[in-house]
């Protein structure tokens, strides 16, 4: 029996192996069509289906162009890795989603097509496309520190405060009056803990400082600043420390949670955490997975100060080298940025449309927004959108990691926010030299 089994396995393995080797050749290109590659980060559970739908539609409407999509795992970090490798071997994609936090890194390290230059050469009729359709604070999301327009803003996400109305009710709080300020968040979290025994609050802990930036800047602090033409850390200010300390104090009091995202979201969805502060991009997933009605409100503010929320999400960059592909890539980008496509995109992902007028457009999102209360809490924050701090230089990514590390130091209570941020600022400054 064993003998036969061995033979069978060997045969199976051999044949599979041979097939795989012969299948390794790259796909043939057709001569009539321009083929362009679109790289994105949308997993199946996060807009992947919408990407396919959009491409299908575009390919049907544009018989002379063939768009091929490619999913990149591990978000923009993974995508950047793949992009760098692809460019090193001379095979670059044409249209790429790039995270806003990679703005300066991409501007300094990747061979992109400058958007105004590309437009004046390949599509002069669209010269004013940006200025006509985007708000100035949104255009700046894709403009590097030295003023280069390296892409078009595509997806915008903002942080919101989700909450579990059942837990609020159980704690004797009115679910229709969610906390508006951080002081109220602290009080609510305490009440939830006292009355229900559940944890009150969690702020997202992704491998970035996005939500924390919203916290710091809404309290009047800043992440980075320019000094003698050099970027230096600015997050060692009293405002920043005060804001950060609020979260740390909640964790210390047992009313706040310090855990990995996956763990905390899981706990929220299973009804063990009252409030979670994270991206509007999580809306659909939360609504689908929770066993209660997920409600939300805008990112809380500090008394008397204006809210400032960094834009998460991505811009579209173009990397095509020859004119034909550049033209095709631009037509594809224009299609993705059309109100109808953006409406589809918003519905599929929960991102906000970067363009003016999509939410008021009856063909766009008018009905959708009217029906979806959770979208409203995000939409209302569009005027408060600021740039996501992007660490420049070859050590930029490591500098950002230093600030991620300090979050763990502060939240674990090992040091006060002021001390920890001071040390991190020294480290970041030495890395940014």
């Amino acid at each position: 029996m064993l003998k036969r089994f061995t033979k069978l396995i060997t045969l199976l393995c051999l044949s599979a192996f041979v097939i795989s080797l012969s299948g390794c050749g790259t796909a043939q290109k057709s001569n009539q069509k321009v083929t362009i590659e679109y790289w994105h980060v949308n997993a199946e559970s996060f807009g992947g289906a919408t990407v396919k739908q959009l491409i299908e539609q575009f390919n049907k409407e544009n018989p002379d162009i063939e768009v091929v999509e490619k999913y990149n795992p591990d978000m923009y970090k993974g995508l950047t890795q793949n992009l760098q490798a692809a460019m090193a071997s001379g095979k670059n994609p044409d249209v790429v989603q790039m995270g806003y936090s990679y703005l300066n890194y991409a501007g300094e390290n990747l061979k992109y097509d400058d958007i105004p230059e590309l437009l004046s050469k390949q599509a002069p009729e669209d010269k004013n496309f940006m200025q006509d359709n985007f708000l100035p604070n949104i255009i700046s999301l894709a403009t590097t520190d030295d003023g280069k327009q390296i892409g078009l803003p595509y997806s915008v996400s903002v942080p919101v405060l989700y909450y579990n109305p059942d837990i609020l009710k159980q704690a004797g709080l009115d679910p229709n009056k969610p906390p508006r300020t951080w002081q109220e968040v602290t009080q609510y979290a305490q009440t939830i803990k006292d009355k229900t025994g559940n944890t009150g609050f969690f702020m997202q802990e992704y491998a970035d400082n996005w939500a924390q930036q919203a916290l710091i800047e809404s309290n009047g602090g800043k992440m980075l600043t320019k000094k003698d033409n050099k970027t230096v850390a600015a997050f060692d200010s009293p405002e920043a420390a005060q804001a950060y300390q609020i979260i740390a104090d909640m964790v210390k009091a047992g009313t706040g949670l310090h855990a990995s995202n996956e763990e905390a979201f899981q706990a929220f969805l299973s009804g063990k955490v009252g409030m979670v502060c994270t991206t509007i991009g999580k809306r659909e997933n939360f609504e689908k997975s929770a066993k209660f009605t997920v409600m939300s409100t805008a990112f809380p503010t500090f008394d008397g100060k204006t809210r400032k929320v960094p834009a998460g999400g991505n811009m579209l960059m173009i990397f095509s080298k020859d004119a034909e592909k550049q033209k095709a890539a631009w037509r594809f980008v224009k299609f993705l940025e059309s109100p109808a496509s953006l409406a589809l995109w918003t519905k599929g992902t929960g991102y906000l449309p970067p363009r003016k007028g999509v939410t008021e457009d009856p063909n766009g999102l008018k009905d959708f927004v009217a029906q979806n209360k959770n979208m409203q809490s995000a939409m209302s924050q569009m005027p408060d959108v600021v740039k996501w701090a992007s660490f420049p230089g070859a050590n930029g990514l490591q500098a950002e990691q230093a600030l991620i590390d300090v979050r763990d130091v502060i939240l674990s209570g090992k040091q006060t926010a002021a001390d920890a941020l001071k040390q991190a600022a020294d480290k970041v400054n030495s890395l940014l030299q």
Binding site: S45, K70, S89, N285, S289
Partner: protein, 275 residues
């Protein structure tokens, strides 16, 4: 020796506890994959779903190109397995059958590659594979793994156990070395090769790190890589589905093991891996 039942009763309790600890996470994975989202959270500790549902599996089948993931994983695993068996077999043979200068040095140098931590060589290899244009191909995953230091070591050990007269008889008949290897030695060491093959296959089926770097096109994913999609930054918290994919990923190596377990364990015992 007489068996003293009361004497070893507590040892059995101890072993059963260990068995429980080792099996429980698996049970947990399988049972969660059959639960609805509600049950996952409400009845976390209950290993048996209150109502047995196949929803998670059906959704996996509908949303993921599962068939191609299985094929990709199979291609990579079998490619690596066959290549490693072949290179180990002939290299092991060279070390047993021939005498040549620097034999020990060469052997040690080959064995040493087995101990090099993967991250140390991963960067240059990644650059090399990408220069060769092999990113996103199964060949790119397989190529750096065509040989295996431990495989060579095991083959040499096994072949040393073959009685010398058998080989000398072959030499007297003027048989070529290839003939001696394939006709005289091979039949004798088949079980060892088979067991080694199973271990190689299971190991490469489960590989995560290197394929994660080489395969970045969703279509070329292997199963373990597909798994990380479920906990990636914005990937979602669909635990039932994640556990269903985890269960499906584990099934082939598990079945392979269960079918051949007596054989695998016995071979392990006989060869008595020694370093």
């Amino acid at each position: 020796m007489k068996i003293n039942k009361s004497y070893n009763f507590h040892w059995h309790i101890l072993l059963l506890i260990v068995v429980l600890i080792e099996l429980w996470p698996l049970l947990f994975m399988v049972s969660t994959s059959f639960k609805t989202m509600d049950q996952i959270f409400a009845a976390t500790l209950n290993p048996f779903p209150t109502s047995f549902i196949l929803d998670n599996y059906l959704r996996v089948l509908h949303t993921l190109p599962l068939g191609s993931y299985i094929i990709n994983t199979f291609i990579v695993a079998s490619g690596i397995t066959i290549a490693k068996i072949f290179t180990s077999l002939i290299a092991g043979f060279a070390f047993v059958y021939y005498d040549f200068r620097h034999k020990e040095t060469i052997f040690n140098a080959l064995l040493f590659t087995f101990f090099i931590p993967i991250t140390v060589i991963i960067m240059p290899n990644y650059l090399l594979i990408s220069k060769m244009g092999l990113l996103n191909t199964p060949l790119g995953v397989i190529l750096p793994q065509l040989a295996d230091g431990m495989g060579i070591f095991l083959m040499r050990q096994t072949m040393r156990g073959i009685p010398k007269p058998l080989i000398e008889a072959g030499q007297l008949e003027n048989a070529s070395p290839w003939h001696i290897l394939t006709r005289i030695m091979l039949p004798l060491i088949k079980p060892a090769i088979f067991a080694m093959g199973i271990v190689f296959f299971i190991d490469s089926w489960n590989q995560y790190f290197w394929p994660l770097l080489v395969l970045n096109d969703k279509a070329s994913y292997t199963l373990p890589i597909a798994l990380q999609m479920f906990i990636s930054a914005e990937g979602g918290s669909e635990w039932g589905i994640a556990m269903a994919v985890a269960t499906l990923t584990s099934l082939p190596p598990l079945l392979l093991y269960l079918v051949c377990q007596r054989f695998i364990i016995n071979t392990f015992m006989q060869s008595g891996v020694k370093g």
